[in-house]
Symmetry: C2
Subunit: 329 residues, 2 copies
């Protein structure tokens, strides 16, 4: 399958006949007017096979993860995703079957989030897949969530459970002992197919004082949020929400957990939302948690003292952390 | 230099303090409102070291080319470039000096075109540089140039001269004999630093019936334009505009030209504008050419018969072409 057939046969249907895309036959696409009272948000994320996924992952899963990590940026801003540009650099030996499955993965995820492909570029090189998406979203003017609004005394929350993606990755690498199939599948799935928290992000507008998604690891990302807000943070280790599968691992292999927990909580790829809100918003946040059937956990507090985020044990002592997050260079 | 220092020290200044970018500290950027009567255009292009440039090209030149090929898409639409997202996948062994020179190249080109960086992603892998830009531009509502409006009888024009980039690439690869330094430098420069025809694109709104930039080679790109417009095309070989340097090569080495001209005119990377206009727009187009000090050459005519673009010799016979353009897969 050559470049132009790939575009015409597999990518053009992903424009979902939006006339502004010119069916991918022109040099650019138009953006439709932003609805009154709304504004555009724009963000980009790259996925590399061998770094963010395995080259032999199912192509439809790679496509879904690529969209998910970009949708997660929109979730972090409280925006509604709209459309995207796709820059695909493919390995030269890519097969037609791979391309078809990849396009199917994009199509399935698009439908779930009501977005469409507006354009991009397709190239090939001697390496593994490098795929970048630029995602556009819309948000009520001036109402998007930012990292910079946390106030001392605000409560720090996270959605979902933390560390599952790290455990999923360790399982893939054969770094963990055997687990019951359900737990194993759950953790692998959490690594491969993160769930962008779009609905939560939208509900947090006007409630959260700051927000971001956790892509580089809890403490590293919290440090970015604290830096942007000019606050410090104290986080309770015992409060960090873990999935049943993570608990099962800890219980089954008590000798392993002490060796890996730092890596588990400081690895990235969770794509949960990290946010702050004043103490008096607790009832509303509990309500969101119930409505969305998504755990939201209070993990700590923003402090006036601008120290780097501290992880505290039950006695209130700071736990020393050796690795704070994933870094690309 | 680590990822966060690269962003903070070298990339953040490229936002030119536009508040909508949040100084690259957030999960997304806002787009400012589009001026009344205007609309947004969006396009993406990827540059790969080893495919679109040489890995050892000066980093500031690679940066300039990366922006230029994206600006060229805006030129092709008649749009005014506005801002861009940058997805950089760097070789793991990249040096601080390389990053600094690359950022300087972006900065210099930004200033020339009055654009700014609004966000993106920085990653690293085991391969060569893969850099994607998504460019946003603005254009009078509904007035952007498209590929689809050419009518039978319209004149086909190109800006600048054709084939220089192909010759520059052949020189780089040592595939051509020696040339006087001026000619050599000119051709190398045309390969390395294409000139997006922004001002011409803007002036062609309301004049050209179709337009695109030549990135994959004249005949391949003309075929796309013809397909989108539902016309055929006859192009006069003798009319194809060549630079003084290309002429010098042809004169100096008459035995070489017959062997390479097909490759010269069917290779990509010229980034000149290819457009059609009715016969009666000639005076206006001549005027643009003078004002912009940019040759604009009539190379052929759009035909009612929807045949693939034909290259005709002086006798009107079709010249057989074996290679029509650059393809990525």
């Amino acid at each position: 399958m050559d470049e132009f057939n790939f575009i015409n046969i597999l990518l053009t249907p992903l424009t979902r006949q939006h006339p502004e895309t010119f069916a991918l036959t022109d040099d650019a696409a138009r953006l439709p007017p932003c609805p009154k009272g709304q504004e555009w948000l724009i963000a980009s994320d790259t996925l590399i096979a061998g770094v963010h996924c395995f080259p032999d992952d199912a192509p439809q899963h790679i496509a879904a993860k690529l969209l998910a990590i970009n949708l997660s940026d929109m979730a972090a801003m409280g925006a509604t995703p709209h459309s995207y540009q796709l820059c695909l650099t493919l390995p030269r030996n890519v097969t037609a079957a791979w391309l078809e499955a990849f396009a199917n993965g994009l199509g399935d995820t698009q439908l779930r989030y009501n977005i469409y492909l507006s354009g991009g570029d397709t190239t090939a090189h001697d390496g593994t897949l490098v795929a970048s998406i630029t995602m556009l979203g819309q948000c009520e003017k001036g109402a998007c969530l930012q990292r910079s609004g946390a106030q001392p005394g605000d409560v720090i929350y996270v959605s979902g459970t933390l560390g599952d993606a790290a455990l999923g990755l360790m399982l893939r690498k054969g770094q963990l002992p055997d687990l019951p199939e359900t737990d194993r599948d759950y953790l692998l799935h959490r690594y491969l197919l993160p769930e962008p928290r779009i609905a939560l992000g939208q509900q947090l507008r006007g409630i959260a004082t700051s927000a971001m998604d956790i892509s580089d690891g809890l403490l590293a990302d919290l440090q970015h949020l604290c830096h942007a807000s000019g606050v410090g943070a104290d986080v309770q280790y015992n409060a960090l929400p873990r999935s049943a599968a993570a608990h099962a691992l800890e219980t089954r292999y008590p000798e392993i957990w002490p060796k890996i927990w730092q890596q588990v909580f400081s690895a990235g790829d969770d794509y949960e939302l990290l946010f702050t809100a004043p103490e008096d918003k607790l009832a509303e946040i509990k309500n969101f948690s119930q409505t969305l059937a998504l755990p939201i956990t209070r993990i700590g507090i923003a402090t006036k003292s601008k120290h780097a985020p501290r992880l505290l044990d039950v006695s209130g002592s700071s736990i020393s952390i050796t690795k704070q997050g994933f870094m690309h260079l």
